[in-house]
Assembly symmetry: C2
């Protein structure tokens, strides 16, 4: 009985290790600081496979976790090292692109002091970047750059001075006679008007497209979509969401302000609206109710246009030149099994039906990404060249 007992003992001592060896390749020790770390910070790090390694200094802590790991697995539990720091590596490689996360230190939620912060989930969160194979399209390169400017505009309907960020393309200042089309570009729930520049690199995507002559130069305007009235864990919140306050700010206050203060082409055929996630829902609501305002519409992981939607929006079919819908591939995989009680969801079928009816519907799927910013960077990169082709 000697040998069997010994094997059982070995098995009890190393069950996960032997399991991991048969399931996944070894972790490659080529970790480097994330590109979104604060200046001089060595951690968190990312390796060439997309694993993340965290290191947090908290010598007196009892428990440190990072909320990022693999979907549904509750993040990464860090272990205390001899020097008092806490170290841990994600249980698998993460998808390419940008991910929000935070730390849980002894039951409290804090940001990782190693990273820059990004506004998401109604708070400034830590962020990390898994280098994407196609990262070149949003890289900061030696090409002419447009500017992103903070604008404070009066909003009588809300009684305050509101903020927007405005991207003006390279050459805007030099070409004083030129006027430009405008895209109004919305963030998602829990984010704000900083998201498309900070997390999205919308300005760099445009700079690179323009340098490649792949898109017409245009202005992008980003403001806060007033989405945070919906609280997490309130499943009925979305159904009760009232678009009117934001629609008033956008259509009656911001657009006239932009048309007065920037050299725009102030008509429907030179004005687009797009948004990600809940910003897509807002885009659909506002664009279908204002078909004389927006001639191009984009929903990035934020719904779809069915033939019925188009039929119900008066003049949409005649006046809107493009309906662009996109998703991350992992969203479509997950949505293939609809939650109980959810309405039928088939964006591909909607797109095909619209297109078959002669409407300019474009559908894009971002490969191997979920409901995250790389899906939306890619969506903007696909959407921009389709706009304002007159």
């Amino acid at each position: 009985m000697f040998l069997p007992v010994s094997l059982a003992l070995l098995s009890a001592l190393t069950p996960t290790a032997s399991f991991a060896q048969s399931e996944a390749p070894a972790i490659v020790e080529d970790f480097r600081p994330s590109s979104l770390n604060q200046p001089g910070q060595e951690y968190p790090q990312v390796n060439s496979q997309g694993y993340v390694r965290f290191r947090v200094n908290a010598p007196g802590a009892q428990s440190v976790k990072a909320s990022l790991g693999l979907g549904g697995q509750g993040g990464t539990v860090l272990s205390k090292a001899v020097d008092g720091s806490w170290i841990g590596t994600s249980s698998g490689p993460l998808d390419e692109g940008f991910h929000y996360y935070h730390l849980e230190v002894d039951g409290g939620v804090f940001n990782d002091p190693g990273t820059l912060n990004f506004y998401g989930s109604t708070r400034w969160e830590s962020g990390i970047e898994i280098p994407a194979h196609d990262a070149d399209f949003y890289a900061l390169k030696d090409v002419p750059h447009g500017n992103v400017q903070q604008v404070l505009f009066p909003s009588p309907s809300t009684g305050i001075q509101r903020r927007a960020f405005v991207y003006t393309p390279p050459g805007y200042a030099a070409n004083q006679a030129a006027r430009y089309p405008v895209l109004y570009l919305q963030h998602g729930w829990g984010e704000d008007e900083t998201a498309w520049s900070n997390q999205g690199h919308a300005n760099l995507i445009m700079d690179n497209l323009i340098a490649d002559k792949a898109t017409r130069p245009f202005i992008i305007v980003m403001t806060y979509g007033m989405t945070n009235v919906i609280r997490p864990g309130d499943p009925g919140g979305l159904a009760r969401f009232d678009i009117k306050p934001f629609q008033t700010v956008l259509v009656d206050e911001l657009i006239p302000y932009i048309d007065r203060h920037f050299r725009t082409l102030p008509d429907r055929d030179h004005r687009a609206m797009a948004g990600l996630s809940m910003g897509g829902m807002e885009t659909k609501m506002i664009a279908t109710a204002n078909v004389d305002t927006f001639g191009y519409v984009g929903l990035f992981s934020g719904g779809t246009f069915s033939p019925d939607d188009v039929a119900k929006a008066p003049s949409f079919r005649e006046k809107v030149k493009l309906a662009f819908v996109s998703y991350g591939s992992r969203e479509l995989e997950r949505r293939a099994v609809a939650p109980p009680g959810a309405p039928p969801f088939d964006p591909v079928a909607n797109h095909k039906a619209l297109k078959a009816s002669g409407f300019n519907s474009v559908f894009y799927v971002s490969p191997n990404t979920a409901h995250e910013f790389l899906s939306w960077r890619r969506s903007l990169h696909e959407f921009a060249p389709l706009l304002f082709r007159d």
Copy 2:
């Protein structure tokens, strides 16, 4: 002996309370969330006396401290409440204005999840605002607003695309024929090009001054001063600081870029430089070495011009129209006792001697503030109306 024993017992039970009552007024329980809190966050709070109350959720922690309290007293130690949160109140009222701070949770340094973050001390730190009695001059009001725009400019000397923020005054876009003077405005050590807009409210100070017709409208340019090569705790670092790399970026790369891309008045008499703390030191070094570039100079808590400094800088006396020097009053109190080995420091005597010699020297003291941003907001507010009076 009954009464004396009883009194002694009472005294032993409440020694600090009775001491506090005789030394300081009671803390007024009118705490309200700091204006710099993240959306919806109730803590930290500030009361009408300037006390700060912290509340941090970390139910499993052993020790939570806030680095902010009273000078030299090591911050505020928080105590665990029955609900698992940690609560504490500063040991005294803080000076009016903006203060950086961070938390120490079980020996690790984290930001307070309640507050917005501001770049200082070479990291994004928590910030809190003690409402100042004169806060109106940097308040966001219903006046015409200038824009703050992010500019990416090529820097051959450093091999990268660098970032600057550019404030353009209200009316800049509408008055296409107008050209404007420019102030180059530098942050301090450990900060970056975001500081003057975020912590300093430079744009709002200008908007309000311009609305009051108290200053000529001008452009402000803010870029990173490359100051972080000096590490804390390296007393010789400042003496070894080499101004040349930053001077090259500013004078040879950024100024020509700004003059090409903005409607500037591109000459010495319409160009100023100012900086706070180490940015003041940079301003003094660069302005005295480039008297044909800058016609107006400001040092905010960042040194002084002695008659000897002016005599040693060729043509400074003839070409520079204003040398503005300012300090927070508490800095002057502290510096009245010079550290061992420090050179003689008497900015008031320097100012008087320069002024007596016929040079346009202006000296300003911010009341009841230290080496902090309210001193510098006020300094900009005093400095701007003195510029470009031609």
